[in-house]
Amino acid sequence: MKDLSLHILDIAENSVAAGAQTVRIVIEEQPDQDLYRLVIEDDGKGMEPDFAARVTDPWVTTRTTRKVGMGLSLLQQNCQLAGGSLDIVSQKDKGTRVTAIFRLSHIDRPPAGDIPATLRLIIAANPDLHLVYEHRTQNGKFVFDTRQVKDAIGDLPLNHPEVLRMCSAFIIENLQQIGAECQTKNDFKLAENDINH
């Protein structure tokens, strides 16, 4: 995985596979404590304690197509390389919380990557999922909640390409305002203004 946004896409996919109704993603950047924290929390089916304890082992997986599962193992490796750790708390039938901690300034901490692209694809593939994304920096906090977005867009489908573009632009604008780390470009325009269409 090249960056954290790809890890987020990967781990959030586990939540969806676990039948989650709500997935909550929280990123915190705290330069004074040299901390970058990523939390992905769901209300899916959870794991048995003995499975949860072994889940970062690459030879442990729920999939049946083959015998390895690299998602959490790779995230854990990236955490450990950047002076941090990975913590998984899971309760059967209640849900799972994955917390990845990195040293913010560590040279081996993967960059945040294109977080808006990750979020819009989670939405595109799971329009009925309640997705909450929260990003906190020293300058403030931004919360993106698909329930609020649904209220704002009315009867438009959440996974309409134009709505996805709008959500993306909304996220990028706000991340810039709080000075959040994010590698993306804001190329939002409504299709009618686009001469290439």
Binding site: D10, A152, L156, N174
Partner: protein, 133 residues
């Protein structure tokens, strides 16, 4: 160009959008639509499936092709990621391997628009090492 900084802006933009487009209820007749499934497990994501899926959504919208683009788990073809399953209405699904944005363009232009098969199809009888007894 106005910026979208608040939910109120989002509301305003979606009202503009509603006036321009006719809303089709896609979910009611998915069997008549082109269905595209991008494999998005760890192996797919690491190989660039996010860009592939983004490209399909953007490009099909641009060309005004009615399709449902969604994601699926690992199909067991990790060596050929990103893999994409395309199902044209009334036809058997076809799985393509190594689908970067260039390949995706070829699939749209040749297979989806003209029904012409392109290179890189993963045959249905392919077996992963684990399946082989």
């Amino acid at each position: 160009m106005t910026k979208i900084t608040s939910l109120a802006d989002l509301k305003k933009k979606s009202e503009e959008l509603k006036r321009r487009i006719d809303l089709r209820e896609k979910s009611e007749h998915t069997e008549n639509l082109i269905q595209i499934k991008v494999a998005m497990a760890t192996c797919g994501i690491a190989s660039g499936a996010r860009e592939t899926m983004d490209y399909f959504i953007e490009e099909l919208d641009k060309r005004k092709i009615d399709a449902v683009v969604t994601q699926t788990g690992c199909m067991g073809y990790c060596y050929a990621e990103p893999t994409v399953e395309v199902k044209l209405p009334g036809q058997e699904p076809v799985v393509f391997g190594y689908v970067n944005t260039r390949k995706a363009k070829e699939i749209i232009e040749k297979y989806i628009l003209n029904g012409e098969l392109v290179d890189g199809i993963i045959p249905q009888n392919y077996q992963t090492i684990n399946d082989k007894k």
